[in-house]
Amino acid sequence: MDRIDHLFNHYANRSSSHLIDPEGIEELCSNLEVPHTDVRILMLAWKMKAEKQGYFTLEEWRRALKAMRADTISKLKKALPELEKEVRRPSNFADFYVYAFRYCLTEEKQKSIDIETICQLLDIVLGSTFRAQVDYFIDYLKIQNDYKVINMDQWLGFYRFCNEISFPDMSNYNPELAWPLILDNFFEWMREKQA
């Protein structure tokens, strides 16, 4: 326990409050030899159940490192692949997916995330498993004018879309069902391109 706390303090000593701040996280990343925007950092945050983007509290830190049985940087680094496997398990991934969205809601009462951030988030979270869908959808998001932000319902809708709809033919997609409207529009746009 002490070593975990000690490790925490190493990264937290820059900020005035007893937290690891964005700079601290950056240092952590370079020590772990993981890029700052890598999905594994997000996974680590998930493991911590970190509430505020860019900051880790002592409690959150302890939670993750204890579960991962890591009390040094090298142990933490070695535990990352295992963490990734754990997160990618279907039972956990849905939860992680929701968490990723919430993590980006920085303001109080914020319910939606701007398009640009969403595009980045999609890339990070789903890029490795649903490359094609993510690329096309990001293209569409950038072109369309109907929505300037994306909400949780639409975010979840896209995940279901990737899991259930065959791509790129989308032969089993039916816009008359309860899919979020933005996906109906995406579907139309794809169809037009394919014609």
């Binding site: 909400n151 319902d153 639409q154 309860a178 979020p180 409207l181 109906d184």
Partner: protein
């Protein structure tokens, strides 16, 4: 007791049995046989009925019933065989006559014989369950004459030939036909059917198959139907005269099938004479005939109805999407009403007010009226025209008729809320310009709309009427308390409750001094009695009557808009004014000012102002002066008009946008209402229920409904079910 010798004296039981002379039976039979011969030879007059009867009776009594019966059969058979030879020998036309004659003879003979043999009929035959005399007589005739090979086919062919002749117009002996065919009927239903009716129906079928083909190639639809009807009547007549009544249904079925059912499509679709032609040219008689004939066959009326429906839809579609026809809204609607009247008349005159046709008419109208998005606006304009001047001079009853017809069109509209918006605008203009022809008519229509759509639809409209009334009272109060104002310009104010009237942005405008003084006096009067209210002058909606004196002494009273009044009054203090000066003085916005100046300076017959340069459009460098030479044959000249007009494109867009905005909360309210009561509902059902709930006002777009659902999800009124994506859940 004396001992007497026994006598052979017995009282014996009465016995029928009499010691029979074996030859007795033969003798008796011979008598009877001879009698039968004589009867058949028309030589019966010398016979004693009583004697013959007794002989027959005795035979049966003495147990010779069988001999009698058999004898009777054999004898009759022999006679019939003879008769059939005679019949067969008859040539040509007399064949049938011979047959008929012999049949009648046989019947007479049979009756006599039956009477003679009645005891046998009732006892011997009864107990042995053999065939009775009379029916046996018929069977024998059937077997030996009718079914005699040399007669059988010839008989049938002769009969069928005669029918054929009659069908081609020849006169035949109907009495003879009836007699012979009755013979078949008497011989039994199966004989009639097998030996006559069935072949008759087959032959008729062939005949009509050929004839109908001929007709259809050579006649137009109306003529063909006349012929078909004629043939039907003939066949019914034929049955009445010489066939079994039960045949009527069968033969009419044949005619219906061959002449109508088989050619239904071709008839209905016939170019230049079929159903569409008849409809277009109001051929009531032909249409009625078609209706009566087609209703006899399966899917006959369905076919007519379908063709009528697609014709109506096509015609309607062309009518409403033709840009030429949309130029004049009043004419557009009148044309719709005329078409509806026309088809109404067709259905009531020719189709017996058939409800299914009424429904087809209604659904067709509903379909195409909504193809033109401006229909709601146009119907409102039509009503506006009627309420302004169109109903002038109409009696109450006629007014009601027109309003009811308008309501009928209204019912067809899918976007009733669009109509409401326009109706409100047009009503406002009518009320404010005092241009309504009949207050009663206005009220009547509101009542009808309320009955159709409920209280909410009309509550604001009624509010408008109330405002008008209240304003009258207010004006009375105002002038009552300011008697000094009876000299000088007269101000008439209508105070409008903002929520009830169509919203207009208030346009700034500098009123002439004498007018603004009055306005201020009114404002303080009003606010004195109604504290807490805010009054805003709607200068873009007012009118003014001005007395003007022109150069050569011409006096006129000009009826103008408020803006026009502001401009004209400036010329009391200046001879000539530039555009910029007018703009500065009145502060009227540029587009309104230009329109205003145009109506004062550029319209022939109304140009009380002259403009330099004399171009058509108003330019910002132009200058204006009074037209001293202005003339008009009327003392009162109307310049400003506040008549409702068809909207321009941008105005139309704006109205449409406002309607769409108004719909959003209505859709959301419907969704919430439904979800609150159902708690959980799947996507398709929500769409269906919402659409149904909103249908009295407008047709809800499924995409729009989806948008509203998502918005409600975002605002935490609803959520998606976590396991079944198609379900929505109400969040209390």
């Amino acid at each position: 007791m004396s001992n007497q010798k026994k006598r052979n004296f017995q009282i014996e039981a009465f016995k029928h049995r009499v010691v029979v002379d074996p030859k007795y039976a033969d003798k008796t039979w011979q008598i009877l046989e001879r009698a039968i011969h004589q009867i058949y030879n028309q030589d019966a007059s010398g016979l004693s009925f009583e004697e013959l009867y007794r002989n027959a009776y005795n035979m049966v009594l003495h147990k010779f019933g069988e001999k009698l019966y058999t004898g009777f059969i054999v004898t009759m058979t022999a006679h019939l065989k003879e008769k059939s030879k005679l019949i067969e020998a008859a040539q040509g036309g007399s064949f049938l006559e011979e047959l008929n004659k012999k049949w009648n003879e046989h019947n007479k003979a049979l009756e006599m014989i039956r009477d003679i043999l009645m005891y046998m009929d009732r006892t011997y035959i009864e107990s042995t369950k053999k065939t009775h005399v009379h029916p046996m007589g018929f069977s024998l005739w059937r077997d030996n004459v009718v079914h005699f090979t040399k007669i059988h086919t010839r008989l049938l062919n002769t009969l069928l030939d005669l029918v054929q002749k009659e069908r081609t117009g020849e006169v035949i002996d109907r009495g003879l036909m009836r007699s012979v065919i009755k013979m078949f009927m008497d011989l039994g239903e199966s004989v009639y059917q097998e030996d006559f009716e069935k072949p008759f129906l087959d032959a008729s079928s062939e005949f009509y198959k050929v004839e109908s083909q001929e007709f259809i190639e050579s006649c137009d639809c109306g003529d063909y139907l006349k012929k078909a009807e004629k043939r039907l009547t003939e066949e019914i007549d034929r049955v009445a005269h010489y066939l079994d009544p039960k045949s009527e249904e069968k033969i009419t079925s044949v005619v219906e099938k061959e002449m109508i059912a088989n050619h239904m499509q071709r008839l209905v679709h016939m170019e230049n004479s079929g159903l569409v032609y008849m409809l277009l040219h109001d051929k009531y008689e032909d249409l009625g005939r078609m209706y009566n004939l087609f209703r006899r066959v399966t899917n006959g009326l369905l076919t007519v109805r379908d063709v009528m429906t697609s014709h109506l839809r096509e015609m309607g579609k062309q009518l409403v999407t033709d840009p030429e026809k949309s130029k004049d809204p009043v004419e557009f609607v009148q044309r719709l009403l005329d078409e509806r009247d026309k088809y109404d008349k067709v259905i009531s005159t020719a189709f017996g007010n058939d409800k299914t046709f009424q429904n087809a008419l209604n659904s067709s109208f509903e379909h195409f009226i909504n193809l033109n998005a401006r229909s709601p606006e146009f119907i409102s304009l039509f009503v506006d025209d009627k309420l302004r001047k169109g109903l002038k001079g109409f009696v109450d009853v006629d007014v009601e008729v027109i309003l009811d017809k308008v309501m009928m069109l209204f019912r067809y509209l899918q976007e009733k809320d669009v109509f409401e918006k326009y109706y409100k605008q047009h009503l406002a203009k009518r009320l404010l310009s005092g241009k309504t022809v009949s207050d009663d008519a206005e009220r009547s229509l509101i009542v009808k709309l309320k009955t159709e759509c409920g209280y909410q639809f009309t509550s604001k409209l009624e509010g408008m009427f109330t405002d008008m009334k209240t304003s009258e009272d207010t004006m009375r109060g105002f002038y009552g308390s300011h008697p000094e104002l009876s000299e000088g310009p007269t101000l008439i104010v209508q105070v409008l409750t903002t929520g009830s009237w169509p919203t207009q942005p208030a346009v700034p405008c500098n009123l002439p001094a004498e007018v603004s003084v009055l306005c201020e006096k009114f404002r303080s009067y009003y606010l004195g009695t109604h504290t807490g209210r805010r009054l805003t002058w709607q200068t873009n909606m007012g009118t003014a009557d001005i007395k003007a004196l022109f150069g050569k002494g011409q006096k006129h009273e000009l009826n103008v808009s408020t803006f026009q009044m502001c401009v004209l009054m400036l010329f009391n203090n200046a001879d000539r004014l530039s555009y910029k000066e007018i703009e500065q003085a009145t502060e009227i916005p540029a587009s309104d000012l230009k329109r205003c100046l145009q109506s004062l300076a550029c319209v022939k017959g109304k140009n009380v102002i002259k403009k330099e340069p004399m171009s058509k459009d108003i330019g910002e460098e132009d200058s204006f002066y009074v037209n001293e030479k202005f003339t008009s044959k009327f003392y009162k000249v109307k310049i400003g008009t506040v008549v409702a007009q068809k909207e321009t494109e941008p105005e139309k867009q704006e109205t449409r946008q406002r309607v769409e905005e108004d719909r959003k909360p209505q859709i959301e309210a419907a969704i919430v209402r439904i979800m609150k009561s159902r708690k959980i509902l799947d996507h398709n059902n929500i769409i269906a229920e919402v659409t149904k709930q909103l249908q009295p006002r407008f047709l809800a777009n499924p995409t729009e409904i989806k948008k509203r659902i998502e918005s409600l999800i975002e605002r935490d009124f609803l959520e998606r079910d976590s396991t079944d994506r198609k379900l929505y859940r109400y969040l209390a």
